[in-house]
Amino acid sequence: MTDEELIEKLKAGDSACFGILIELHSQKVLNIAFNIVRNLEDAEDITQEVFIEIFQSIQHFKRESKLSTWVYKITVNKSLDFLRKKKRKKRFGILQQLFSADSAEPRISIRNELHPGIELENKERASILQDAIEQLPEKQKTAFVLNKIEDQSYAEVANIMDMSIASVESLLFRAKQNLQKLLGDYYEKNEK
């Protein structure tokens, strides 16, 4: 079935075709969400939210991009929204701790998960790199995740992020520079 036929049937409310859409894109959606939020449970919740959004707004899909690009764009937006909300909650939590009576209690720190698909011999290095990626600005991080980890082309990343290819190239260049600096600092402190 072509994209066009699938879109037509989805717009007509064909639930079997929605099943096909899930089959085609759920794994990629889950992986993109995981690589941005670094937590499998959260990524699964985001995946569900993404398909609910698709189900609700397929009527408004204008076919200006490929169906897959539209799906991944929703995924990136939902994942970034999730991270922003999490940051706000964290800030509020710190404030609450400052003013609460039992502030002496130790804080539970939830460390981000490492990608389960990374080979064992790379796990330590990947963990270091992952921590460095977390420190990148939002757009650089998104571009890096989509291009280097999710293997999307520059053009696809540009479509997903609503940018020109030149802007994506520049983002990736800066991301790589920042990562090299962060990793260099880490090397000086820990590996030397």
């Binding site: 794994q27 189900f55 990608h115 790589k176």
Partner: protein, 98 residues
């Protein structure tokens, strides 16, 4: 390439194209449920007219308050001689007694 450069390059390549995370059967079921009974699952979309109605009501309330305040100020600046007439007419029986 020195040791540090080599280490950075190797680290940068450590997450290149990892194998995919599989969709768990539980998540697959959650996603299929959207298709099967998605409409019932959806929270009702907020009616876009409600915030506008609320804003219009507040504006109307403010407008009425401002108009009332202006009107009250105008009517409060009454003529002192008229007040004196009322006073003397009301208490004129006192003058009669005197």
């Amino acid at each position: 390439m020195d040791e540090k450069e080599k280490w950075i390059q190797e680290t940068l390549q450590s997450v290149n194209k990892p194998s995919r995370i599989e969709v768990s059967p539980l998540l697959a079921q959650r996603l299929q449920n959207i298709a099967l009974n998605g409409v019932q699952q959806m929270p009702p979309a907020p009616n876009p007219i409600i915030p506008w109605l609320a804003a219009a009501s507040i504006a109307l309330l403010l407008g009425i308050n401002i108009l009332t305040a202006l009107w009250y100020n105008d009517s409060a600046s009454y003529d002192i001689s008229a007040a004196h007439t009322v006073y003397s007419e009301y208490f004129d029986y006192l003058e009669t007694l005197n």
